[in-house]
């Protein structure tokens, strides 16, 4: 599979509505690199201004890469990881 077909794990759609901030932190990953994930399952949990949100897997596939590890900070629009679809 080419790297181009990977699907990003994005945060924009689940950004907490009440949050003014454009930065967040990854609290927990629920999958490791190389494990199978199903679309919609919670993939990781982020925190923005003390509000927590789950980031669902965008597609069925394998978690190919974790870009932002636990405790890493990121900005709105960043990619937290990549899914290799099946």
């Amino acid at each position: 599979m080419s790297a181009d077909s990977r699907v990003p794990v994005a945060v924009d759609d689940i950004w907490p509505e009440a949050a003014d901030a454009d930065e967040g932190v990854v609290i927990n990953w629920f999958a490791r690199e190389g494990t199978r994930v199903s679309a919609g399952d919670p993939l990781c949990e982020i925190q923005v201004e003390k509000a927590d949100a789950d980031v669902p897997a965008p597609v069925d596939g394998t978690l190919a890469e974790i870009v932002c590890a636990e405790d890493d900070e990121f900005e709105r629009g960043d990619t937290l990881g990549w899914i290799a679809p099946v």
Binding site: V25, I27, W29, A31, V37, D71
Partner: protein, 339 residues
């Protein structure tokens, strides 16, 4: 080999493991409900009920006024009438205001009624320090609850154990005190160590009470502990391995009933016992475990050490709290003294 073990890939935090078991039991049994302070709209200040309100609504996930005597008493009454309440004591440190409901009603009503009622409730409560919340919000009080007959006492250390033990707690026909350590829950503002997040099956399963778990096998020394300190003991064991000391780590998982046989079996193998507890040193878990071994396996015991919170109020100041609580380095040092 006809049966194939299900390969579990997803990992859960300890809080999510607990919540999954509660949600499963609530779907299966309309008599199960949860009440406590900030458990509904807030989801539990340590995420013990996160997401349950959305599925079950305020009739079954109930916020209560700040009167522990009132709502813990209500839980005892509901349980005696056949419901299966789960009542949360926000911090175990607050048990004193409802001590009669816990110690004299919940724990004894089955006996006092001559067995005409049972009290199938779960008292969940947050325990432990490490985050500078001072002497009235940082205790574990394991010994205080395990001491009095009539209550089963559960202390999980991983997500897998937390879910299985919660299923068992809710299905048990007697009162169960389920003590979850805040530092293990996986909360954003209080990051957990690496150990408690584990693979967790989506199906329900139970872990019988009174079955300790050997979290690490070793030949040279037995470290008996529970809760957060399972992970500190495992860290210590990793360091000790570099010095050629092979430590076994026994996670008690429940204090009542206590799996004395697993402790004895391990000490008969290693000859050396180190007991580690976040609760106070005197009249507690460390003394009980050491006494168990001296009662039953004294001839096998070559050396023994206790590592526990000294008998002082837990300090607020970060360096003082860290200094007084058992750290991995303290466990290592205790093990080395036995060699």
């Amino acid at each position: 080999m006809s049966e194939q073990q299900e390969v579990v890939e997803r990992e859960l935090t300890m809080s999510r493991g607990m919540v999954e078991a509660i949600a499963h039991e609530m779907r299966a049994n309309d008599e199960v409900f949860y009440m406590g302070e900030d458990v509904a709209d807030y989801g539990g200040i340590f995420d013990s009920t996160e997401g349950l309100l959305d599925e079950f609504g305020h009739d079954r996930i109930m916020d209560v006024p700040i009167s522990e005597t009132a709502y813990l008493g209500a839980a005892v009454g509901a349980a005696q009438e056949g419901m299966r309440p789960i009542a949360e004591l926000m911090f175990v440190d607050f048990f004193g205001v409802a001590m009669d409901q816990i110690y004299n009603q919940m724990a004894k009503n089955t006996y006092m009624s001559g067995g005409s009622v049972s009290v199938p409730m779960v008292l969940t409560t947050a325990v432990g320090g490490t985050y500078n919340d001072a002497a009235q919000h940082s205790q574990t009080l394991y010994g205080t609850f395990a001491h009095l007959p009539g209550m089963k006492v559960v202390v999980p250390s991983t997500a897998y154990d937390a879910k299985g033990l919660m299923h068992n707690a809710i299905r048990d026909d007697d009162p169960v005190v389920y003590m979850f350590h805040k530092r293990l829950m996986g909360i954003g503002w209080m990051p957990a160590p690496d150990g408690p997040k584990t693979p967790v099956p989506e199906t329900d399963y139970t872990i019988p009470f009174g079955s300790a778990d050997v979290k690490r096998e070793g030949a040279d020394v037995t470290i008996v502990t529970l809760g957060l300190h399972v992970h500190r003991a495992l860290d210590a064991a990793d360091s000790l391995a570099e010095d050629g000391i092979d430590a076994e780590v026994v996670d008690l998982r429940t204090l009542v009933p206590l799996d004395r046989e697993t402790i004895l079996e391990s000490v008969r193998k290693t000859g050396t016992l180190v007991v580690v507890d976040e609760d106070y040193r005197s009249y507690g878990v460390t003394g009980e475990v050491v006494a168990t071994v001296t009662d039953e396996a004294l001839a096998h015991l070559d050396a023994v050490e206790r590592v526990a919170m000294p008998d002082i109020p837990i300090p607020y100041a970060r360096p003082l709290e860290t200094e007084t609580q058992p750290q991995a380095a303290d466990i290592e040092a205790a093990v080395e003294r036995t060699q």
